[in-house]
Amino acid sequence: MSDKSLINKIQPRDVADKSIDGNLEKALEMALDVESKAVRENTQSFNNNRYIATARINDYELLKNKVRSIKEDSIANLPNLLVQLEQSIKENGGHFFLAKTAEEASKYLTNICKKHEAKLVVKAKSITSEEIKLNDYLEDAGIEVAETDLAEFILQVSDEQPSHIVAPAIHRSRERISELFKEKFKTELPLETGEDLTKFARDILREKFLTADVGISGANVISADTGTILLVESEGNIRMVTQAPSVHIAIAGVEKIIPNRKDLWHFLELLAPSATGQDLTSYTQILKPPLKVPPFSFDGREIKDREFHLVLVDNGRMSMREDAVLREALYCIRCSACMNVCANFQAVGGHAFGGETYPGGIGGSWEAGTGNLEKSKFSDLCTGCSRCVTECPVQIDIPWLNENLRNRFNKKNNPEALSFVFKGLLPTEEEDQSATLQKQFFSNYNFIAKWGSRFPKITNGISHTKFAKQISEKVLQVDSRRKLPKFSSDTLVKQFPRFNSEHISSNRFEKKVLLFADVFTNFSRPSAGIATLKVFNKFGIDSQISKVGNEGRDSLSQGFLATTKKRANETSEYLLKYIKNDYDIVVVEPSILALFRKDYSHFIDEEKFNSLKGNSFEPLEYLYQIVKSKKKDFRTYFNIEAIQKHPKIFFHSHCQQRSINVAKPTLDFLREVGFNVDTSSVECCGMAGSFGYKKQYYELSVRVGEDLVDQIKKSKSPNEEMVIVASGVSCHEQIKDLAKTHTIHPMELLYQFLK
């Protein structure tokens, strides 16, 4: 669909259910066209604020670990906590209901409202109520529902689903809210400023608060020992909902329970900084309902005693608890850090990167757990960049959840499965052979590169012709606007003997390194590997080269878990032999190092993983450690004067390089050796391995990349030269495609200044 008027007619709700064929593509097109600008501005603002706020917390990591451990223990002990909580709520004089299904929960809530002859219900933000479609039930029963959180109010007026877990209307700019209100409320008021719009909504809602019969809120955390709920907000609507009407119903998923009230502080200290970057939100309430404050009767009706109901919803959560993968999602504290840090989410928001209820990378597991696997199809937008893993306050490995969802998709109902063709042809494990042709292609990069490098003139030439691009777009769904990376016949492994014969090796060398010939460096960027070897040699490091890697990054990104497991085991066994012989492993391509440091934890023994993780390094991380520990002087190795005269460097760090904390040593090294370095602040370049090559995601990949291109442009003064340095192969390709400029690897840069 390319007609703009048609795109504008796509309503978010119409494309919310991603299990329907074509909805994901339509939602992407709509979001890129209509919602991208507002989502991007708002999520990036939250993201920056979170970095600042969490950096101020001196024991942030301890706090994260503690909350993670409380959540793990709580989910493990959930059946007992449910029993204890029921007792606590009843002792407090409240009512407790555990709903097995969404329908059961909605019916119970509706019946309470009916019992009180409620005409109007005021609701605070509750994603669980969205999940169980509570408003539909209440409205069918003739009860008016007023959403009182301003974002939810906007969504109620526009009939849209939330696009973000903390700021549900994040996709609407002030201008689009103004248009909406003018159209729906037929008002002549100017409604131009945020103040105008807020006052307009506030006046409507104040009347609702004062006349409502029932208030429905969610709960951020619930403690089983006392039946206490924690509620976090800024507007004051939750305070209104919980105290203005005499009947208060709190609804929450069962996963919100923790054992003890005394532990609530961990959550409140962690939530606001991780969510919006505030130290605390305006109002953080801790309540043990029913409230002791006397009820009011603003409209002269009879004053009733306060009544409280806690409705807990299972709706698939107890099954998620039994699922080793989806169980992780139950630890989520719904802060939205994973969404705000995600480059793809920043570009499209939760109407595309989200389902009927749950948005973002974590949303896939929730849609699958509370709905079905097909509804989580949008989880394919998770590129596995892992920026969310370090930012998640409860350390959920969200890419791993999405790789598992992908794996389950690959095995299920795949009409394109061509296993009979692939059997024996591609090195894919049998259980991964039912995936699509596109996934088969991208999960076997090593195989393709190996063959491509044997006949580079043919493969590089043909693959870049218009005809070949059309074929690959048709058959493999590789976007024809992309050029696949070129393969070199003179691979890193082939060049190594030449390097070895030209450079000294000595038993006096202090360090032994195995340079891992990862599939990307070996076939597509051997010059970065050779530069590494030469710089290392100057530093007195005795380097050997590994066999060509087939590490499993490609297969993991497509959800080929059996294949990845095989590749991880073979690779780690091979590398551990070197580690046992006192070799350190150095890896040029950050996404491969991230496998060894992070992803292999899912595939190999813990002891082996820890050994590999502890002995694998990025080139400049490795050198920086040597320089610092041995107090080496850069002047011994580099021509500092020439470096100082060198044009400015623009360094773009790879997403996974930052996620495993090895971007900083590279940056520090370049700066300390004397380069004038500017850096990008984007979370990801948007290429993300194979993601940006896929036809269905090309536009999104380009949109994400625009931020990086803008930063490059802004960094460069008109009359000065600037050299762009990037560690990742896919970043290199994205910058080449979008900024039409060349990049070099940090080691290639440094090599030029060796003495």
């Binding site: 400023t193 807020t198 005394k262 502080w265 109002y283 801790i286 009011f296």
Partner: protein, 180 residues
């Protein structure tokens, strides 16, 4: 004031500024209290005052009795329409600029919600460093383990309509008066 308290007070002032709370520091039992309140309550909008549990100040009590606009026992209609509220707080948090108020029949929790301007008194000796402190230190933890309470960290706010706007469903302005 001890060195530690003075440090906390400075940090509180800095944190409160970030959340656009105006902080006034006055001495206990001084006419300053009256002057400060008079500078905030500038029109004849009605003033609701909750029962103070954590501040005991004779001059404040006298001011309350003498002011014709002050209402300590409002009807529900008056509650819904009052402009100012005055409450006390049992603790202040220097790292976040928050004041902690109970939500009980003293009506602090209700009065501080419905009005446009909330004025809250805090005894400087109840200034603590981090939110966790009120859960761990006596006598605050007796309250936080048993009662309903609220961390108030600035006035009611939203960014849902574009820029940050203060004054949504709760007060648009928060004044914290610290008694030394």
């Amino acid at each position: 004031m001890s060195g530690q308290n003075s440090e906390r007070l400075n940090q509180f002032l800095e944190s409160a500024k970030k959340v656009e709370t105006t902080v006034k520091i006055v001495s206990h039992f001084s006419d300053d209290i009256k002057n400060v309140l008079n500078s905030i309550i500038v029109d004849d909008g009605s003033v609701l005052i909750s029962k103070f549990r954590f501040i005991n100040d004779q001059l404040l009590s006298e001011f309350i009795k003498s002011s014709k606009y002050i209402n300590t026992n409002p009807t529900d209609k008056e509650l819904a329409n009052a402009k100012y509220s005055i409450t006390d707080s049992f603790a202040g948090i220097s790292e976040t600029g928050s004041v902690c108020i109970v939500n009980d029949d003293s009506m602090s929790g209700s009065y501080s919600l419905y009005t446009q301007i909330h004025i809250v008194f805090l005894d400087s000796k109840n200034l603590l460093s981090r939110p966790r402190d009120i859960f761990q230190i006596d006598p605050y933890k007796t309250i936080t383990q048993n009662e309903d309470f609220i961390f108030v960290s600035g006035s009611s706010a939203t960014a849902d309509m574009g820029p940050l706007v203060r004054g949504v469903h709760g007060p648009a302005k928060l004044y914290t008066i610290i008694l030394e």
